[in-house]
Amino acid sequence: MIEAFKEAVNAVSSPVTIFTGSIFFFALLVLFPKQMTSSRMSAVLVVLGMGFFLVGLTDEHFRTIVKTPDNVPIVGMLFIFIYFTWFALKKGIANDELIAAGKPTKEKEEAEEKVMVFPYLIYIEFVTALFYAIVLVLWSIFLKAPLEDPANPTISPNPSKAPWYFLGLQEMLVYFDPWIAGVLLPTFIVLGLCAIPYIDNDPKTSGFYCYKQRRLPIAFFLFGIWILWFQLILMGTFLRGPNWNFFGPFEVWDVHKVVPLLNVNLSEFIFIKWLGQGLPREWYLREAPGIFLTAVYFLVPPAILAGTVFKKLYEKIGAVRYSIFIMLLLTMLALPIKMYLRWAFNLKYIVAIPEFFFNI
């Protein structure tokens, strides 16, 4: 029976299903946070999650991958982040209810009383440090450093994986040009994170957990960090195998697996498939549709959204901050959009200019 379950999981697993499933789950979380973080739901999710994990541990291959000293911290990271997301949302919901009832927030209440740093801060920090030390000692005894063969320049490991903090970007390399996925996007990520305090500088909601008043920023951030960062790291760690092929959680990592990759540029779609002509010789003619689409994507939605969904926001933060914000948001959303275009249409590049090594 467990075998059937494993087979079913393997059959269902693919980047599309996992990505779409996680977006669906994310939507539920963001739209119905109270229900999702309620004790009953949390219990159900914990049981399901742990159940899957424990069932999975019975499988030899799953166990090998999860028990690798390299991957144990990633598993740990998964549990820790789930906990913190749940914690923050729960706190936020609690505060929302207090605010709705007109009471002061929990933080405000707590801010009224003052207690001594020693022992209430120091003592518990100390005990925590001791437990932390125990964890480290046990870790160092049971998880040995993952040293491999002496480095042989003639043999590259297969799969060649980036360190975990770059696995998200390595996953992006499947869908994007290295310039975009490796230079542009990381720059935007870093600059974007730096820019957040300047864009979202409303002091009204600072200093305490809250959800309703900050639903949009929280949603965008959780989308970015969960769907586009963690999820890709988890996929890159556990579900990507030799030759960067996708393997289900219970699939054996076979070096010889060959999966065809046939992707077509937008210009080829338009000129060869639809119009039946050949590709134009000049690159600006050939890529004109793609360039046009990209321009439209970045110019039209901001204007429309400023007038409709983001109207209040636009008025609050002003044109400059709004444009920065909308640029970052559109770039962020461009990722899943391109991924779906790839999965649905085998689209390779929207704009493909190999003459300048520039592809989007």
Binding site: V115, P119, I134
Partner: protein, 938 residues
């Protein structure tokens, strides 16, 4: 603290958790410390100490038993007596001692004063000289006075000292005489009980005690532990870690503690003594442990001190199971250079012993090398260092004069159908080409190859036997002329250097065989088979005999059906690699069926690499088709294609499997006919596979620095060049030479009829004579049926042989020629008379009658002056048995005394010299004269 201070949470709980975490952490740390110090190797070292102690205890018991108790008792009694007498004399001794002490004090005082004064003297002298030099006469005079005053004082002190010392010595001698005897007896006792006391201390040292436990305790074992890691650091040999070459550090001896000591041969592993200590590990051996370490030969991870991480490799499935149970063994991950299983350990010898035909003391490796040569591995697989080898298959450049096309097709189908002992492997209808489609293609290919060979070989003029031969006579000739030196005939299987002589009637015609045996090089210029200088009748007899044997089953085999579709398909496959399909089809249309068949044959020969073993017209410069094996022993495991075969992921497993069933890695794969694996099936036995795997594992990419390699001197190189020729031409098939017995000697009962033993030949014969003999052999021992063949050597080969024999015998090149002063007439006469006295001519006849037993015949001495070295004749006459044990030549000069006392004063040396000088002028006329003189006495 004000009790009104607000609290955030209950501190009692926090304290509780503090206690828990504190205790847990403490326990954790203690566990960590103990776990860290509980190392596997300490356990083994402790065990070794215990084992050594037990051994020492049993040795102690044995020593105690063998102690001469009675003598000990005697000595002890005499000691007691002496002690008694000493006791009686005690007073005297004490008196003398009383005098000695103040005397010693005086001596010390005098000495000190003397030395002090000397110092002053030196200083004064310095100042005197300085001031004299400076011209300060006044100060100089002062010092002069001081000097002159001091000198007598010093002298007197010296004399006083000497007197005192003399007195003291006197008294000490007096004292000693009482204690001397005591000391003597004590020494004797010590000598008698030396072994026992030695062993007692040894046992004491090996006993566990508290001090050792403390020194070895965790956290304290940094000071001076008794259990410590032992290592051998070898500077000259380095491990290659790709970005650095690191000195070898071999920590094997941490657990393998008894490995270089005699006496642990019966100990359990890991304490067992290494096998053949005189060859490995001991400081007197050629491979001392400090210079070579362990991993050079055995591989593995030298700096590990764990059983598993050292990459020990079990030598069999059983051992693997045993290790898994006992030591929780599993193959070491992430370390590709695992230890060689013990049965392949000779593979490491070749890393340093390069440039030799046979690696000394490595029989399995040498067997592997020989097999690789014999079965023609180097014909397809390039191996650097083995490029000077020869093609093992017969030349096919003239094959149309030898074989029929039908025979070739039947042969190619399965060579062993014709002759089970053939070395030619099976190429077609193997495990990956047995499906119906492949079978058709195989048949077409076989027919094609036959067609190509018949068309593309030059005919050769053949001679017919002039008269019919007698098969019985032919059989006798084959068995007695020397064919057995290379060939197996029937049940006489001393050699299999050449093909077994059987079933030839089904293969060749009389013309060809007759021409061939009379002069092999006429048909095949590069053949190794020599000519036996057969007369026409002999050749005719032998031909008749050999052709009388047939293989009916083989003859009645139907040639396989060749489908034209298969021929066309194969042709198109080859053509479309260069042309487009339409063009290829057009080309094909133009070709006649015979041309297509020939084309298929040519492409197939190119594809299958037949030219690797056989010289074929049109393929003189073709490249061998196999993988280069120069560094096969170092090949990364990932580069070996294991296919779907479930064997261990090790090199030796892959090589063994490949040699046993070369096409097995194709199983389960979808491949076109011409993409399939091509290695033929040699049907090796398991021992042959083992030896060949040892050879393959020896082909490693290792950079041993020159100073660590066994580099050959020029002489040794020339010996190796000779050895290569010897192995190519199978000299040891007939002759005992260079440590190997001549193979045919085992089937000849009367060893007098056997080919001569060639040990020490370099010392025996003249170089020029040897050169010309090898060039054109002439009979030396006419009674021998076996003939020395004519090999038609080149000048280089002849010189190589002469050098080979010279170096083997340790003969230095010399330019003195014969170096004998010319003899006087009297000396020649003396030699003549001695010759008659010893009746040399009785055995050393010029024309022996037929029928005499070979044991009583000897070479004609007319040849001696050109053939034999003068110094050798002296040694031979002195003691023939020492030069060639077992020879029939009598020892005339036993113990250096001559039986002939009336000539040359009965001096053996003079007589020998005279006879030698006589031999140097022993012409055929002299021989006739002596024979005539000898006749009446017969």
């Amino acid at each position: 603290m004000a009790d009104k201070t607000p609290s955030l949470y209950d501190l009692k709980k926090t304290t509780f958790w503090f206690a828990i975490s504190g205790i847990t952490l403490l326990i954790g740390l203690v566990v960590m410390v103990f776990q860290d110090s509980a190392r596997e190797w300490k356990h083994w070292q402790a065990k070794f100490v215990e084992y050594s102690r037990e051994k020492a205890e049993s040795e102690l018991q044995a020593a105690e038993k063998s102690l001469d108790e009675k003598k000990l008792e005697e000595l002890k009694q005499s000691l007691a007596q002496v002690k008694e007498t000493a006791l009686a004399r005690r007073q005297e001794m004490e008196a003398i001692q009383k005098e000695l002490d103040p005397l010693q004090l005086e001596i010390t005082k005098t000495k000190t004063r003397h030395q002090d004064l000397k110092q002053f003297h030196d200083s004064d002298r310095y100042f005197f000289e300085e001031y004299s030099e400076k011209g300060e006469a006044h100060k100089a005079a002062d010092y002069r006075k001081k000097l002159s005053e001091r000198e007598p004082e010093i002298l007197s002190l010296k004399t006083a000292l000497e007197n005192q010392e003399a007195l003291r010595d006197e008294k000490e001698i007096a004292l000693k005489q009482w204690t001397e005897k005591e000391k003597e007896i004590e020494q004797e006792i010590k000598k008698l009980t030396r072994d026992v006391t030695g062993l007692e201390t040894k046992v004491e040292k090996l006993k566990p005690n508290l001090a050792k436990e403390i020194l070895n305790a965790p956290m304290l074992d940094f000071m001076n532990p008794t259990l410590r890691i032992q290592q051998i650091v070898v500077e000259n040999l380095r491990d290659d870690y790709y970005f650095a070459k690191v000195e070898k550090v071999d920590r094997c001896v941490t657990c393998h503690l008894g490995i270089d000591q005699k006496g642990f041969e019966d100990a359990p592993q890991p304490f067992k003594t290494h096998s053949r200590l005189e060859l490995f590990l001991s400081s007197a051996s050629p491979h001392p442990a400090e210079e070579f370490g362990c991993t050079t030969c055995h591989g593995g991870s030298g700096h590990s001190v764990d059983f598993v991480t050292a990459a020990h490799t079990p030598r069999s499935e059983d051992q693997a199971r045993e290790w898994k149970k006992k030591y929780h063994w599993h193959p070491m991950k992430h370390w590709s250079e695992k230890m060689l299983p013990l049965n392949y350990v000779e593979a490491s010898c070749a890393k340093c012993h390069t440039g030799v035909v046979e690696v000394p003391q490595a029989p399995k490796l040498n067997e592997g090398r020989n097999l690789a040569q014999t079965f023609g591995c180097f014909g397809c697989h390039k191996v650097e260092g083995f490029g000077n080898r020869w093609k093992v298959g017969p030349e096919l450049t003239h094959v149309q004069s030898k074989l029929e096309s039908d025979w070739i097709t039947r042969w190619l189908e399965n060579p062993k159908d014709f002759r089970a002992s053939t070395k030619m492997p099976r190429i077609f209808h193997l495990s990956n080409t047995s499906d119906p489609e492949s079978v058709d293609k195989n048949n077409a290919t076989i027919a094609g190859i036959a067609a190509y060979l018949m068309k593309n070989s030059d005919p050769v003029a053949l001679e017919s036997p002039k008269a019919a031969g007698d098969a019985k006579e032919g059989e006798r000739l084959v068995k007695e002329t020397g064919c057995l030196g290379c060939h197996t005939v029937g049940s006489l299987a001393a050699n299999d250097h050449g093909p077994e002589l059987t079933n030839l009637g089904s293969k060749v015609k009389a013309d060809w065989l007759y021409t061939w045996i009379k002069n092999p090089k006429h048909y095949a210029p590069e053949t190794r088979m020599p000519s036996l200088r057969l007369t026409d009748e002999e050749a005719s007899h032998i031909t008749t005999y050999l052709l009388s044997q047939r293989n009916e089953k083989f003859e009645s085999k139907k040639p396989p059906l060749v489908k034209t579709e298969a021929v066309d398909e194969i042709s198109l496959t080859f053509m479309t690699s260069k042309l487009r399909f339409q063009e290829a089809k057009a080309e094909l249309e133009k070709m006649s069926p015979e041309a297509r068949l020939e084309y298929v044959g040519q492409q197939a020969i190119n594809q299958q690499g037949c030219f690797g073993c056989h010289a074929i017209k049109g393929f003189e410069n073709a490249k061998p088709i196999g993988t280069e094996l120069t560094e096969e022993g170092s090949k990364e495991i990932d580069r070996l294609d294991f296919g779907f075969v479930d064997i261990e992921r090790t090199r030796q497993a892959w090589f063994s499997q490949k040699l046993k069933e070369p096409r097995i890695f194709d199983h389960g794969k979808v491949k076109a006919y011409h993409e399939k694996l091509r290695m033929p099936q040699f049907d090796f036995t398991d021992e042959q596979v083992d030896s060949l795997v040892t050879f393959l594992l020896s082909l490693q990419k290792s950079e041993i620095p020159l100073e660590m390699k066994k580099s050959l001197t020029i002489k040794e190189n020339q010996i190796e060049a000779g050895r290569l020729l010897v192995s190519k031409l199978n000299c040891q098939g007939c002759h005992t030479l260079d440590g190997k017995e001549g193979s045919v000697r085992s089937i000849i009962e009367d060893k007098g009829n056997a080919p001569p033993i060639l040990n020490g030949e370099g010392k025996k014969v003249e170089e020029v004579w040897l050169y010309h003999f090898l060039e054109n052999p002439t009979p030396i021992r006419p009674w021998l049926q076996y003939r020395m063949p004519s090999f038609a050597f080149h000048e280089k080969e002849l010189s190589a042989f002469v050098q080979y024999f010279n170096h083997l015998a340790g003969v230095e090149p010399s330019y003195k020629g014969k170096g004998i002063p010319p003899s006087t007439l009297e000396e020649v006469e003396a030699g003549h008379k001695l010759f008659q006295a010893f009746q040399c001519i009785k055995c050393h006849k010029s024309n022996p009658e037929p029928g005499l037993s070979a044991s009583f015949l000897a070479p004609d001495l007319v040849m001696a002056k050109d053939r034999l070295r003068p110094e050798w004749i002296i040694d031979w006459l002195k003691d023939p048995q020492e030069v060639e044990p077992g020879t029939m030549m009598p020892t005339f000069f036993a113990e250096g005394k001559s039986p002939v006392t009336d000539m040359l004063e009965g001096d053996a040396a003079k007589q020998i010299k005279a006879m030698r000088d006589y031999l140097m002028v022993f012409t055929p006329e002299e021989a006739a004269r002596i024979t005539g003189e000898a006749k009446p006495s017969k």
